[in-house]
Amino acid sequence: MPIIKNQRILENTWTFVEDDAPLPAGDITVSAKRWTEDKAALLQHTGKLGVRLAPADNVAALGDDLPVIKLIELNFPAFNDGRTFSQARLLRSRYGYQGEIRAIGNYMTDQVFYLHRVGVDSFEFNNPKDMALALSAIKDFTIRYQASTR
C-alpha cells in the first residue's frame, strides 16, 4: 500500500511483524515489547529496523536505541487517542529522533495538520482514498501560534 512521506506519495517498503512470527527479509517493524525482549536478535537482521508504538508506550523507554531505529510507527487505536501527538513531539523535541515517524491506524485526514506539526512525517491510511485529502490537509493552516516541532 502506498504511503505519504514528506508530502509525496511513495510505495511502502516496511512490513510489521507480529510478536510470535519469524522475521521476514527486508525492512521490518516490531512492537515495543518485542523490541525490548528480542533486541539482540533483531540487531542481527539485515534489513532496516523499526518499532510500532501503541499510545500507552513510553517513548523514553526506546532511549539509546533511537539511532538504530529507522522508523517509528505511531498506531492510533481510535482517532481520539491524543497521546500519539505527545509521543511524536517528545520523540522529536526531547529525544532528538531523526528517523521517520509514521501515523498508522484509525485516524482522520483532518488530524494530519496537527500530526505534521508535532513531527510526524509519513502517513499510512486504511483507505487509500484519504491520501489526496491528506496531502491538502497538511496545508490547512498557514498560521502557527505555538512553538512545536514545526
Binding site: 481520539n80 490547512d140 498560521i143
Partner: protein, 550 residues
C-alpha cells in the same frame, strides 16, 4: 481590546474553509458521524433536541459593538432572533441549521469572531474577571495573559485530542469573580515576598458530576514561565489522564488519583525540561499589555454633580444604581451591569433588537465595548457618572435594567429540557416560576446576595454545585425532580454545596426555594448574608422547613 492582526484573521478564515470542507464531506457521506462529531464539536457545534446548537467564543468575555451587531444579525438570519450567554462568557444559538453553519462562521469571521474550541475534548475558551482593568481591587489586568493563553491554546497541535475538555481561568483581583478554583487550571496574579508579580497556579478543579476545588501546584510562578508551565501540565494530563471512562477523564480525577504531591512532581519534572525553551519574553508581555491600555477617560468626569441629585430624586434609578453598577478605579466612572435576568425572559437570553440597541449604548457611553459575565449578564465597563441616568433610561426601555444583579433572581440557568438533549429536567420554566413567586423587588433586595444556580442534569453547565442554592434536575421514572444543595460558592471561599435531602417534585421546587428564603430571613443575624447564615446554623433548620408536609 485586542486587535486582530493579519495572521489572526487568516487563521480564523482558514478554519472556516476547513470546517466547510468537513461539513461537505459529512453531508456527502464521506465522513462518518463519530469523526464529524469530534470535528464539529471543536467548532462549537452540538446536535441538540431540536436543531444543532452553536457556541460562539467570546474570549475572556470581551465584545466590541460591531461584534454585538453581528451577533444580532446572526440571530436574525440563522436563528429565531435571539441568543444565549453561557457561564463561560460565550454565546449560544439554538436553532441554526447544519448546512448553513459554515456560512454563519464566515460571517462571524468578518468581525474577528469564531467558534474554535468552544466544545469538545480540547482546550476551551479562557475566561476571566468581567471587571478586569476597571475594578478597584486589581493587582494587574489579567487580560493580556488571557490573550497570550488564547493564542497558545488555539489549534495547539499536541493538545487537540485530550482525554476530556479543559478549561482555564485567570484572575488578577482580590475578589475572585471568575470562579478560578473551579477550573482545570486556575491562574491568580499574585505578588511574592520580594514584591514581584507572578502567578499562583492551581490545577484539578472542575464542576460536573464530581465537583472538586482546584489545588495549588505552583504557589509562585515567574511570568516568563507561564506557557511552559501550562504546557507541562497539559503534557502530563494528555499522557496520563484516563481515557477509559469519560466520567473519570477530567484532570481533577488524575490529580485526585495520583495525589497532589506526585502530580506536582510530575509536572515539575516535565516543566524543568522545557521551561528554558519556551520563555515568555518581557517584550511579548509588554506588546500584549499595549493592546489593553485604558480608554481615553475624561479627566473631569468626577466633577459631575447631577448624579447625586438624580439619586435623591428618583428611587427607581437609585435602586438600579445600587444593584447594577459598581465602583470604578477611575473616579467619575462606574461599571454597569446589563441584567439578562428580566423576570419574563430565560436567564442569559437576549434578542437581536436588544443586541443592536446595546451596541449603540456601548458606542454612546462605554467606548464601544461590552463584556459578558460568568453569571450570564453583560457589563458596560466604563460609564461616566454624568451618563448613568440616561443610560439607565435607555436600558430600562430595552428591559435590560432589572435591578437584580447579585440577588436571588439573578439566577444562573442552563438551557435544560427545553433545548438540551442531555437534560433530565427543565430549568428555564423553573426559573420563571421562581421569578413569579419572588415578584416583590423590596423583598428581593432585603434578602440580598443569594446566588441560585440551576442545571438540568449532572453535567452541571450552570454550576449548581457551587450555587449558594443549587438546583439540579434529576430524572425519576421519567418525571422531572430536583435536588437542592446549600452553601456552595465559586468565589474566594470556594465550596461545594451540601445536599439538603431527597429531591423534590417539580410542583414543589418553587415552594421549597421560598421556604429556604423564609428560614434565612427568620434566622439571620444583622447584616448576615445567606451564605453566612447557612454556615452558622447548618442545614437542619432548612431541612425541617422544606420537608415539612411535603
Amino acid at each position: 481590546m485586542y486587535q486582530y492582526n493579519e495572521q489572526d484573521q487568516t487563521l480564523i478564515e482558514e478554519r472556516v474553509t476547513q470546517f466547510r470542507g468537513q461539513t461537505q464531506r459529512f453531508l456527502n457521506g464521506e465522513l462518518g458521524p463519530d469523526e464529524f462529531r469530534a470535528l464539529r464539536l471543536m467548532n462549537g457545534l452540538y446536535i441538540q433536541t431540536h436543531a444543532p446548537m452553536l457556541r460562539v467564543a467570546v474570549p475572556y468575555g470581551l465584545l466590541a459593538s460591531r461584534q454585538l451587531r453581528m451577533l444580532a444579525k446572526v440571530a436574525r438570519d440563522y436563528d429565531k432572533g435571539y441568543c444565549h450567554f453561557t457561564t463561560r462568557q460565550n454565546v449560544q444559538y439554538n436553532w441554526p441549521s447544519l448546512d448553513r453553519v459554515p456560512d454563519l462562521l464566515a460571517e462571524l469571521a468578518t468581525v474577528q469572531m469564531h467558534a474554535i474550541q468552544t466544545s469538545g475534548n480540547c482546550l476551551r475558551n479562557t475566561t476571566s474577571d468581567h471587571l478586569a482593568g476597571v475594578c478597584v481591587d486589581e493587582l494587574e489586568d489579567p487580560r493580556p495573559y488571557c490573550e497570550i493563553i488564547r493564542q497558545w491554546t488555539t489549534l495547539h497541535p499536541e493538545f487537540a485530542y485530550l482525554p476530556r475538555k479543559f478549561k482555564i481561568a485567570v484572575s488578577g483581583s482580590e475578589h475572585d469573580r471568575a470562579a478560578v478554583q473551579l477550573h482545570d487550571i486556575g491562574v491568580y496574579l499574585v505578588r511574592n515576598e520580594t514584591g514581584e508579580i507572578g502567578f499562583r497556579v492551581l490545577a484539578g478543579g472542575g464542576l460536573g458530576r464530581t465537583p472538586i476545588i482546584g489545588q495549588t501546584v505552583k504557589p509562585f510562578l515567574e511570568k516568563k514561565y507561564l506557557l511552559s508551565y501550562l504546557e507541562a501540565i497539559l503534557r502530563v494530563y494528555n499522557l496520563l489522564g484516563r481515557r477509559d471512562n469519560k466520567y473519570k477523564a477530567r484532570i481533577k480525577i488524575l490529580v485526585k488519583e495520583t495525589g497532589l504531591e506526585k502530580f506536582t512532581a510530575l509536572v515539575e519534572e516535565e516543566w524543568l525540561q522545557i521551561r528554558d525553551d519556551m520563555l515568555l519574553g518581557e517584550d511579548r508581555i509588554a506588546a500584549m499589555q499595549a493592546q489593553f491600555t485604558p480608554p481615553a477617560y475624561e479627566s473631569n468626569a468626577n466633577s459631575d454633580t447631577g448624579l447625586a441629585q438624580r439619586l435623591t430624586d428618583d428611587a427607581a434609578f437609585a435602586k438600579w444604581f445600587k444593584y447594577n453598577s459598581v465602583d470604578h478605579r477611575i473616579s467619575g466612572y462606574r461599571a454597569v451591569f446589563v441584567s439578562l435576568k428580566a423576570p419574563d425572559s430565560p436567564p442569559g437570553d437576549i434578542g437581536a433588537d436588544q443586541l443592536d440597541a446595546l451596541a449603540n449604548l456601548a458606542d454612546d457611553y462605554s467606548f464601544g465595548e461590552v463584556r459578558s459575565t460568568h453569571r450570564q449578564n453583560l457589563v458596560l465597563a466604563d460609564v461616566k457618572h454624568a451618563d448613568l441616568y440616561s443610560l439607565w433610561q435607555r436600558l430600562d426601555a430595552l428591559k435590560l435594567a432589572t435591578p437584580n444583579i447579585g440577588t436571588v433572581t439573578d439566577m444562573i440557568c442552563c438551557p435544560g429540557l427545553d433545548f438540551c438533549s442531555l437534560a433530565n429536567a427543565g430549568s428555564i420554566g423553573v426559573a420563571k416560576e421562581i421569578n413569579q413567586a419572588l415578584d416583590d423587588m423590596d423583598y428581593i433586595h432585603d434578602i440580598g446576595d443569594i446566588k441560585i444556580n440551576m442545571s438540568g442534569c449532572m453535567n452541571g453547565c450552570a454550576h449548581q454545585s457551587v450555587g449558594h442554592i443549587g438546583i439540579l434536575g434529576v430524572d425519576k421514572k421519567g418525571e422531572e425532580w430536583y435536588q437542592i444543595t446549600l452553601g456552595g460558592s465559586s468565589e474566594n471561599e470556594a465550596a461545594i454545596g451540601d445536599r439538603l435531602g431527597p429531591s423534590v417534585a417539580k410542583h414543589q421546587i418553587t415552594e421549597s426555594i421560598t421556604r429556604i428564603l423564609d428560614v434565612y430571613v427568620q434566622h439571620r443575624l444583622e447584616d448576615e448574608t445567606f451564605l453566612q447564615t447557612v454556615k452558622r446554623v447548618g442545614l437542619e433548620p432548612f431541612r425541617e422547613k422544606v420537608y415539612a408536609n411535603h
